[in-house]
C-alpha cells in the first residue's frame, strides 16, 4: 500500500496494483473489460464502448461469451491509468496462468481481454478461462482455503480449479424430530447453518470475511433448454433462491 501523504498523480499511481484496499489502478494500454459503473477516475485518453458496439466485434467474439451480461459490461480502450472501485468494498487482483476461476457475477469488476469470460453452469457465477489479470471485489478480505471445506453460501466468492460445488445439508438437523419441528414451524429458530456448499478435490476456494454479500448483478436467464441448469423458469435449484436470515 502507498503512503497516503504522497499525492497521487499519473506518475505515482501504481501500475496494475492496488492504490489502497478499496481501489485498484489499471495501467491501460489497449483494452480491458469492466463492469459498468466501476471506473471512478482515469488519466489519459480512454474511451468507453458498450459491449456490442460495432468495431469491437472481433474482441467480443474472442473473449466475451456471455451475451446475457453484455448490457452490464463496457470495454475501456486507449492508454492511461484507470482507477476501479466498488462501493468501498475490498478490491483485489488475481493472476490466472492458463487456468480457470469461477467468481460470483456481482463480485467481478474487470478483466484483461487475454482472459475469456463465460457463464458458469452454476447460475449467478461467471468463469474466466485463460491467462491474464482480473479484478474482483469482496466484503472484507478474501481468504484462500484448500478443499475439503464447506462454505456458507453467502460467504463464497468463487473457486479455482475445483470441481463444481455441491450442496451439503446438515443431516442430523433435518432428520431429528426437534429439527423437523423447528424447520417447519420456525419455533426455536434455525442456526442459519443448515446448508453449505461443499468443495472436494484439488483447487482453491475463495471466501470473503463475512456472510453479507455484495448486491448481485442481474444475471439474466440462460437459454430455456432441456438440460441447462436454471434454463427453465422456476427450475433453478431452490438453494440459490432461498434466502437465509
Amino acid at each position: 500500500m502507498r503512503d497516503q501523504a504522497e499525492p497521487l498523480d499519473f506518475r505515482t499511481l501504481p501500475a496494475d496494483d492496488n492504490v489502497n484496499d478499496y481501489a485498484f489502478c489499471v495501467a491501460l494500454d489497449g483494452r480491458w473489460f469492466l463492469q459498468k459503473g466501476k471506473m471512478i477516475a482515469y488519466y489519459g485518453q480512454i474511451e468507453f464502448h458498450g459491449v456490442g458496439h460495432g468495431p469491437l466485434d472481433a474482441l467480443i467474439a474472442s473473449s466475451f461469451h456471455s451475451p446475457l451480461h453484455a448490457a452490464d459490461w463496457v470495454v475501456a480502450e486507449g492508454s492511461g491509468k484507470m482507477l476501479l472501485a466498488d462501493r468501498a468494498f475490498d478490491v483485489n487482483s488475481y493472476d490466472l496462468t492458463d487456468g480457470n476461476l469461477t467468481v460470483r457475477s456481482g463480485n467481478l469488476l474487470a478483466f484483461e481481454p487475454s482472459l475469456s469470460l463465460k457463464q458458469s453452469i452454476i447460475p449467478g457465477f461467471l468463469t474466466l478461462v485463460g491467462t491474464g489479470k482480473f479484478v474482483a471485489a469482496s466484503n472484507g478480505e478474501v481468504h484462500f482455503v484448500e478443499p475439503p471445506v464447506r462454505v456458507d453460501p453467502q460467504a463464497l466468492v468463487g473457486w479455482a480449479d475445483c470441481p463444481s460445488p455441491c450442496h451439503h445439508y446438515d443431516h442430523a438437523y433435518l432428520r431429528g424430530f426437534l429439527g423437523g419441528v423447528r424447520s417447519l414451524t420456525g419455533i426455536g429458530g434455525a442456526s442459519g447453518e443448515e446448508h453449505q456448499f461443499e468443495f472436494t478435490g484439488e483447487g482453491t476456494v475463495l471466501v470473503q470475511s463475512t456472510e453479507t454479500m455484495l448486491a448481485d448483478r442481474e444475471t439474466g436467464n440462460v437459454p430455456g433448454q432441456a438440460g441447462v441448469p436454471g434454463g427453465q423458469q422456476g427450475q433453478a435449484g431452490p438453494g440459490f433462491q432461498r434466502s437465509y436470515g
Binding site: 472484507g140 481468504h143 460467504a155 446438515d170 447453518e193 453449505q196 471466501v207 470473503q208 456472510e211 453479507t212
Partner: protein, 216 residues
C-alpha cells in the same frame, strides 16, 4: 487458545470433541471437518432460568452451539473482530457484539444500575446499552465485534479512562464505570459540543473502544 485472528474481520476457531463453543447465529463463514451447528433456544449457557433472565434483561441474542472436530471460520456483517483472551477475569460486553466465545466461559447478565444508582440508569439510557450487560468469566477466548478497528486502552488506578459511550465496546478487569456529564446551557439550545456525556472507567483492567461512533 482456540481463536486465531485470520484478518481484521475473520477469526478461526479450533474445535475438539468434548469442547463446545457458542457463536452468533449465521456467523459461520466456512469450516473444515465434521462440525455441527445447533440453534440454541436458551441463548447461551445455564438452564431455563438463565434464559428468562436474559430475555428480561434484553440481552438475549440468537446463538448457536458449535460442536465437533475441525476448524471453523467466523465473520459477521463485515465488522471488525477482536479476540479477547480471559484468564479468570470478567469481561463485560453487549450480547449482540459477541461473535463467538468458548463454552468454558461462564455467561451471565449484570445489572448496571446498581453501580452509581440513578446515574447508572441514566448511563444505560444515554449509551443505548440498556440497563443490563452480558458478562463472561473464566478462562478462554471471546471474539468481539466492532464497527471499525478496536483499540485496547489499559486502565490503572491513577489513570482513569474517559470514552465516548458510542465508541465503547467492552471492558474487563476490576473496573468501575460512571457516566460523567458536561451538560451546559449550550446543549439545551443545540449548540453543544456533541460530547456532553462520557463514560469514565476507573480501577484495574482495560477498555476496548471502536474507531467509530456507529452502533452495530
Amino acid at each position: 487458545m482456540p481463536f486465531k485472528e485470520l484478518s481484521a474481520k475473520l477469526v478461526e476457531a479450533q474445535l475438539v470433541p468434548g469442547q463446545r463453543m457458542f457463536s452468533q447465529r449465521g456467523a459461520m463463514v466456512a469450516y473444515k471437518g465434521e462440525v455441527s451447528f445447533t440453534p440454541n433456544i436458551q441463548g447461551g449457557q445455564g438452564g431455563f432460568g438463565s434464559m428468562i433472565g436474559r430475555r428480561v434483561a434484553g440481552e438475549a441474542t440468537p446463538l448457536m452451539t458449535v460442536e465437533g472436530r475441525g476448524t471453523v471460520m467466523f465473520g459477521h456483517g463485515g465488522h471488525h473482530v477482536e479476540v479477547i483472551e480471559l484468564d479468570g477475569e470478567t469481561l463485560c460486553v453487549e450480547a449482540d457484539r459477541l461473535l463467538a466465545f468458548d463454552g468454558s466461559l461462564q455467561q451471565g447478565t449484570m445489572f448496571l444500575g446498581k453501580e452509581g444508582g440513578v446515574m447508572g440508569m441514566v448511563r444505560g439510557q444515554m449509551t443505548g446499552q440498556g440497563l443490563f450487560t452480558t458478562t463472561l468469566q473464566g478462562k478462554g477466548g471471546a471474539a468481539v465485534m466492532a464497527h471499525g478497528g478496536i483499540i485496547r486502552l489499559p486502565i490503572t488506578p491513577d489513570h482513569p479512562v474517559h470514552v465516548d459511550p458510542q465508541a465503547y465496546v467492552a471492558h474487563h478487569g476490576d473496573v468501575r464505570n460512571r457516566l460523567s456529564s458536561a451538560l451546559s446551557w449550550r446543549d439545551m439550545v443545540g449548540r453543544g459540543s456533541g460530547e456532553a456525556f462520557q463514560l469514565e472507567l476507573s480501577g484495574n483492567g482495560a477498555v476496548f473502544v471502536q474507531a467509530s461512533e456507529e452502533k452495530l
